[in-house]
């Protein structure tokens, strides 16, 4: 299997099990010298774009024998430049063989070449390839090659191919490495089955609570904690080193630099389980801020000050080098409190709050208003529970808050890019501010294909104005939007920003005048914040 086939086969399935199998087959059968590069590309290894896309468009139009405006119009319909170029340049003849390594090297070389040289190289590739090969070449050339597999999937396939545990593979491929400098041997073979002091424990995960749970459960047997919205993680301190693992079993030590000093305060042989969240001045910050921080390649001092991270710890899995997962929760919790007791100097480890409620009714009241307490519900853990492996029913449950909702009026629409080219699927919604509609959020997902088509046709018939790809439409359609959080924002005209906005349903029963107001949103925001004071 070569890289083109790998891409085609991954592209033709949505099932993760099949994707893993395909990558595994690729590892078994691909040429040795291209394999590692192929894997690097699947995991997001990016080439610098060596060339101006305006040049590419002009050259492609000339080669295809069409005017530039027609290529631009086609691009507008397709929504992806590499794909557009591949389609207008397509030929009936078969593609020449696709050798990944020299091809990528040629693209890297382009950076140092004159425009004339660049054009010559690119046009010769264009004349060699058709179909998927042509598409992939353009994708790599424009620097936006992407494929629908997660890093996790690649790790899974590698683990199977190398017969090595996933966390070990994960550890091996952490950080930056250059596929042209490394090989499978240098990356994976050396001292492979040595000590594994960096490994976390498998996470214990909770199911959503089942309605009949409350019929039998005695609240005194349960430890209830606010469910925080962060990244589930384990901090491993062993042999004078610190490792931070996220729940996806990704090694995140590089991203969470504040924890790197913990080997100086925590004893060797400590493993903590908890939620990593951004925290400042006594309160959690918006989750989105952490996402942005994680996304950065370089974390600046400024980022560290703006978005400091803490771990709210709720479990202790290893204590003095001893695996204590079998102890009952209330004992692990006591040891955890003991361990963190002396740590009041360090602001980066907090201990999760245990809520004391008299009854499930009282707990329910907290759950409903949990967003006012910066939580997204409650965690219910049996006080005698061991720390189990994977997602299990019985001892741990999550009891989530309901999403907040608002009715908004559709005012702008934009056609989707790529996967939804040709169809208006990106919507902007507004709420009433006195007599005026002010836009307050965008939302994409949530409608069925049938509804999407129907709304798309409605938009085409009810366009008031066009600005580029954006259509302003008659303010008539009302949609119920759900979201998980709300905050003030200077970037939005309405001054409000929603977290995870999504379309819940189309309210055909409502007219525009019945949509919510900006005041409604501000009230929601204030009730949430008042509880902070």
């Amino acid at each position: 299997m070569n890289f083109v086939e790998l891409f085609e086969r991954i592209d033709a399935t949505t099932k993760t099990s099949e994707k893993t199998e395909i990558i595994y087959n690729y590892l078994q059968s691909a040429e040795e010298e291209e394999k590692l590069l192929g894997i690097a590309l699947l995991m997001g290894y990016k080439l610098k774009r060596p060339i101006k896309t305006t040049d590419l468009r002009e050259w492609a139009a000339q080669v295809a024998g069409i005017p530039l405006w027609l290529l631009e119009e086609s691009y507008y319909v397709v929504g992806d430049l590499a794909e557009t170029l591949a389609l207008v340049l397509t030929k009936d003849n078969d593609s020449r063989p696709f050798y990944l390594r020299p091809l990528v090297q040629d693209i890297i070389m382009l950076q140092k070449q004159s425009t004339e040289q660049q054009r010559e190289v690119i046009e010769s590739y264009w004349s060699m390839f058709s179909g998927t090969s042509l598409f992939l070449f353009n994708k790599l050339l424009t620097g936006n090659f992407r494929v629908g597999v997660s890093r996790k999937l690649v790790v899974k396939a590698l683990s199977r191919y190398l017969t090595t545990e996933e966390p070990v593979v994960e550890h091996r491929i952490m950080g930056k490495w250059d596929p042209f400098q490394e090989s499978f041997e240098t990356l994976f073979q050396e001292e492979i089955s040595q000590e594994k002091h960096f490994l976390p424990y498998p996470f214990f995960l909770a199911y959503p609570v089942e309605p009949n749970f409350f019929e039998h459960a005695n609240i005194e047997d349960w430890i209830l904690e606010p469910k925080l919205d962060g990244i589930r993680g384990q901090i491993v301190v062993r042999q004078g080193e610190v490792f931070v693992w996220s729940r996806g079993q990704d090694l995140m030590t590089d991203k969470f630099v504040e924890f790197q000093v913990l080997h100086t305060t925590l004893p060797d042989g400590t493993v903590l389980d908890g939620e990593i969240i951004p925290w400042k001045d006594g309160y959690p910050l918006d989750f989105q801020l952490m996402q942005t921080r994680i996304g950065r390649k370089q974390i600046s001092k400024h980022n560290l000050e703006e978005v400091p991270l803490v771990m709210v710890c709720y479990d202790l899995l290893e204590w003095n080098g001893e695996d204590i997962r079998g102890l009952p929760l209330h004992e692990r919790r006591r040891l955890l409190e003991e361990l963190l007791k002396d740590d009041f100097l360090s602001p980066i480890l907090k201990i999760s709050t245990v809520k004391a409620f008299q009854s499930w009714q009282e707990a329910e009241l907290f759950r409903i208003s949990s967003r006012e307490h910066h939580a997204e519900g409650l965690m219910l853990k049996h006080r005698d529970s061991p720390y189990e492996v994977g997602r299990k029913r019985g001892n741990w449950w999550k009891w989530k808050a309901d999403p907040m909702t608002v009715d908004g009026v559709l005012i702008y629409a934009q056609s989707g890019h790529g996967r939804r080219a040709n169809l208006f699927t990106d919507y902007t919604f507004a709420v009433w501010d006195e007599e005026v509609l002010v836009p307050f959020t965008k939302a994409y997902s949530g409608l069925t294909d049938r509804e999407l088509t129907e709304v798309d046709q409605w938009i085409k018939r009810n366009t008031l104005e066009k600005f580029g790809p954006v259509r302003k439409v008659k303010p008539e359609l009302v949609f119920e939007l759900a979201f998980e959080g709300i905050g003030l924002s200077t970037r939005h005209k309405s001054g409000i920003a929603l977290r995870f906005p999504r379309i819940l349903r189309w309210r055909r029963d409502k007219i525009a005048q019945e949509a919510n107001t900006k005041q409604d949103l501000l009230t929601l925001l204030n009730t949430r914040n008042e509880s902070n004071r």
């Binding site: 086609s74 319909v77 992806d80 009936d92 989707g416 040709n422 294909d449 088509t453």
Partner: protein
């Protein structure tokens, strides 16, 4: 004064006082083919190709007043000479040629030049005024040859069957379904049909067409359906009807599948760009081939295609706004 104009009812010939593929009820309607954006309900009198009649009866009922004509036969309506010519789009599909006082007009309806082995192949009709659809009138729509697509479909079916999967192919019940059925490799496995497809095949059987495949009924035993191919209309995508067919992989057969985005939005495993319309190259060939000096574009990317035609060839090109293009991806 043009022989054909568009008014609120549809494409109108004033001299002959008749319409072609009208979208509102009128007295006399000439129908190019049986797709719902062209053959609508409520006309007092329909004139269409003989092979469109069973479709018309199936979709509009038996009590309609219909007159069938053959390809190439000409007749007069109020002094306008009318004839139907093969459009190669689906069974019975026709271009309609009008001639009056030495001036010849042709309306293509929907058409394709590449033969599909089922419908009578497209015939190039010389004319002065050429009204052409342009569903795929952009250079990104250059389809692979249909023989290579048929081969891909069969290969994929065989691959799925070997892995114990059923194969669901979505295509319009009228046209695409028969196009696919005529090219399936019967040695691979069994063929089942969604009711909508079975009904069309049954109607076509009355005029002598026969296609493979068994109507998949609700009382059929699930265990018997293994490694089979099932032909269903696109509307069956995501419907509970499919449950019986598990495990299956699904593919959409449509020219729109040329774009990755269109395929992903359908959330199918695969897309085959098998089209019953002209692609970019065929459209260019047809426009040049007719010898027409005036070309009218409709039903697709008419703005872009007409600009291209008038800039690239020494022809006058116009945009004709019709309702045939309502709901782009759904209409064929």
């Amino acid at each position: 004064m043009s022989l054909l104009t568009v008014n609120e009812n549809g494409l109108y010939c004033k001299q002959g006082d008749f319409y072609i593929d009208p979208w509102r009820p009128v007295k006399v309607a000439l129908i190019t083919h049986g797709h719902s954006d062209h053959m609508r309900w409520g006309m007092q009198h329909y004139i269409c190709h003989h092979h469109t009649i069973p479709i018309l009866r199936l979709r509009l009922g038996f009590d309609q007043s219909v007159q069938g004509v053959g390809y190439g036969e000409s007749f007069e309506i109020n002094g306008v000479e009318v004839s139907f010519h093969p459009a190669g789009h689906i069974i019975g599909s026709s271009q309609i040629r009008l001639s009056y006082k030495g001036e010849v007009w042709v309306f293509t309806g929907d058409y394709k030049i590449e033969p599909d082995g089922v419908s009578q192949p497209f015939e190039l009709v010389p004319c002065d005024h050429f009204i052409s659809e342009c569903t795929f009138g952009l250079p990104v729509y250059q389809f692979p040859s249909s023989s290579s697509i048929y081969a891909d479909i069969n290969q994929w079916w065989r691959f799925n069957a070997q892995q114990g999967y059923n194969t669901v192919l979505y295509g319009y019940a009228l046209g695409k379904a028969q196009n696919i059925l005529a090219h399936l490799d019967l040695s691979i496995g069994d063929i089942y049909l969604h009711g909508a497809v079975a009904n069309v095949n049954e109607a076509l059987a009355t005029i002598g067409y026969s296609f493979p495949g068994v109507h998949l009924r609700s009382d059929m035993e699930k265990s018997k359906i293994e490694g089979a191919v099932i032909i269903a209309p696109p509307s069956a995508n995501g419907s509970p009807w499919l449950r019986k067919l598990k495990p299956y992989r699904e593919a959409m057969c449509s020219g729109w599948m040329q774009l990755r985005g269109a395929r992903r939005r359908r959330s199918v495993d695969k897309g085959f760009p098998l089209s019953d319309h002209c692609d970019w190259r065929q459209l260019n060939d047809a426009v040049i081939g007719t010898g027409a000096q005036k070309v009218y574009l409709t039903h697709g990317y008419e703005d872009n295609f007409s600009r291209w035609i008038s800039e690239n060839y020494a022809l006058e090109a116009f945009v004709l706004k019709t309702l045939y293009n309502d709901g782009m991806e759904e209409a064929e």
